[in-house]
């Protein structure tokens, strides 16, 4: 298990090197512009974890993983755990950057920034929770169409949610959650990922490579 988690994290780190310019660009924009970098961990995280599936696909890793001790059983769980760890690390890095940027700008760190990190991380967890079983079932190449549809549905859905009369004022939800966000949001994230994991495991155990 640990080995498989290491493998996914090493893949993400290897891939993150190529995204470092994007990351620097974000920081520059945050320093000299008005970009809020608290949404970055979720976007970057999703990009990095989906790309680990692409690398796996290119080298037909799944067949190889199946011949490792407990490979078939552990591959899905390792994917979920490494996703969680990666998102966590990205969130911490972003938080540290926020502190530094605010210090340089002589601003105080606002609670809403932390909240945004947690909320957007949750959104990406939901996205990943939907995507992973589809990827495990159909492979990352075929699942690409699903990625587009779900991304679109997400943007449209959130936009719809924000504009709808029930959630006329998005701040009220934020305020409501903000009292308990540090517990509620991660818990929701873990719950959704757990359900998704159970489905993925069932798919993966029966799969032929």
């Amino acid at each position: 298990m640990l080995g498989l988690i290491k493998k996914d994290l090493l893949l993400s780190i290897g891939n993150a090197k190529s995204l470092i310019i994007v990351f620097i660009l974000y920081i520059v924009l945050a320093l000299y512009g008005s970009l809020d970098i608290s949404i970055i961990p979720s976007i970057l995280g999703v990009m990095l974890v989906i790309s680990t599936f692409s690398y796996d696909y290119q080298s037909k890793w799944d067949s190889y993983a199946a011949i490792l001790p407990n490979g078939r059983k552990n591959v899905p769980l390792a994917k979920y755990i490494s996703t969680f760890i990666l998102m966590f690390i990205l969130a911490i890095i972003t938080l540290m950057l926020l502190v530094i940027i605010n210090y340089l700008k002589n601003n105080t760190l606002e609670v809403t920034s932390i909240l945004t990190i947690l909320l957007t991380s949750l959104v990406s967890f939901v996205f990943e929770a939907i995507m992973y079983p589809i990827i495990f079932k159909y492979g990352v190449e075929k699942a690409r169409i699903a990625i587009f549809i779900i991304t679109f549905a997400f943007i449209f859905g959130i936009g719809f949610l924000v504009d709808s009369p029930i959630f006329k004022n998005f701040d009220t939800i934020l305020n409501f959650i903000s009292n308990y966000y540090y517990i509620v949001l991660p818990l929701i994230g873990i719950l959704i990922l757990s359900i998704s994991y159970i489905i993925s495991l069932r798919i993966y155990k029966k799969k032929e490579f």
Binding site: M1, L2, G3, L4, K6, K7, L10, L11, G14, N15, T52, Y55, D56, Q58, S59, K60, W61, S63, Y64, A66, I67, L68, P69, N70, G71, R72, K206, E208, F209
Partner: protein, 283 residues
């Protein structure tokens, strides 16, 4: 328990291809070669043994146990399936030591040095031969008792192939370890295999000890007219060339006595395979 792998009535059905039913036993301490043309079912058989695909029916036991329980003791090279290409050989060491209980980092690093494989370069920058060598040493660095290798020597130059075959020979020296390997390079098997299993269109054509096989079969060369005078019972398969006919015969010594004036060559696995598959048969 003298067999490392026991396969009973194995079948795997696809829409346009059926493997088996196969009954195969692979004894401990042997190198068993799996030969057959592309699409004959070699990889399907290996994937069934390794639980990468599920058999339609039948039973496979590895070391007396249900398969998938004993993967700790198996080393594998698959055709075109390995670690993602942006990882390095040293990453693989790091990952594998957390996967196999008996992973031997020192042995792995010694192999890397022996075969001149750079440890910090991404796999995608390695040459085809280097890549294959890395796959082989990765399969051997956790002290497995059984190696299952699908095309392990393809893409290797003759010198390195020789080194790798030596590695395999050393591996079975303790008489407990075993190797099942499939290959297109049949001459490799003539050097090292104790037993040959020949698969064609999903069926085992023969499953015999390598020396018996190579000493028992032969190629009789004759003209068209001579061919017509041969006893049809002696002809297993034949191939008509421009000037002569190659005839596959069994019981080499007996046939040699019977046809004293003919040239009868010893067979190579390649000739045997080609004649069995492409040759015409009388009955």
């Amino acid at each position: 328990m003298n067999n490392i792998i026991e396969i009973k009535d194995l079948t795997k059905k696809y829409d346009n291809f059926t493997l088996g039913p196969l009954n195969i036993e692979i004894p401990k301490g042997m190198i068993v070669g799996l030969i057959g043309e592309n699409g004959a079912g070699k990889t399907t058989l290996i994937k069934c043994i390794l639980n990468i695909i599920k058999e339609s029916s039948g039973e496979i036991k590895i070391n007396g146990k249900e398969k998938e329980k004993d993967f700790e003791d198996i080393g594998v090279v698959l055709d075109n399936s390995f670690f993602p290409e942006i990882l390095t050989a040293s990453n693989i060491n790091n990952i594998m030591k957390s996967i196999y209980k008996h992973w031997d980092s020192k042995l792995y690093n010694d192999y890397l040095k022996k075969f001149n494989i750079p440890s910090n370069k991404p796999l995608k920058t390695l040459s085809c031969g280097m890549h294959k060598k890395l796959e082989i040493i990765t399969a051997m660095s956790h002290h497995p008792k059984l190696l299952i290798l699908d095309e392990p020597t393809s893409g290797l130059d003759p010198v390195v192939r020789h080194e790798v075959l030596d590695l395999f020979m050393n591996f079975i020296q303790n008489e407990e370890n075993s190797i099942l390997l499939s290959t297109h390079i049949t001459s490799d098997l003539e050097h090292i295999a104790d037993k040959i299993i020949f698969i064609n269109e999903g069926q085992v054509i023969f499953n015999e000890d390598s020396p018996t096989l190579l000493n028992n079969y032969g190629i009789l060369k004759c003209t068209n007219t001579e061919f017509n005078n041969l006893d049809k019972k002696d002809i297993l398969a034949y191939m008509k060339n421009k000037y002569n006919v190659d005839v596959l015969i069994k019981d080499l010594n007996k046939v040699k006595k019977k046809y004293k004036d003919f040239v009868i060559d010893k067979i190579t696995l390649e000739d045997l395979m080609v004649l069995m598959i492409k040759g015409e048969k009388i009955c």
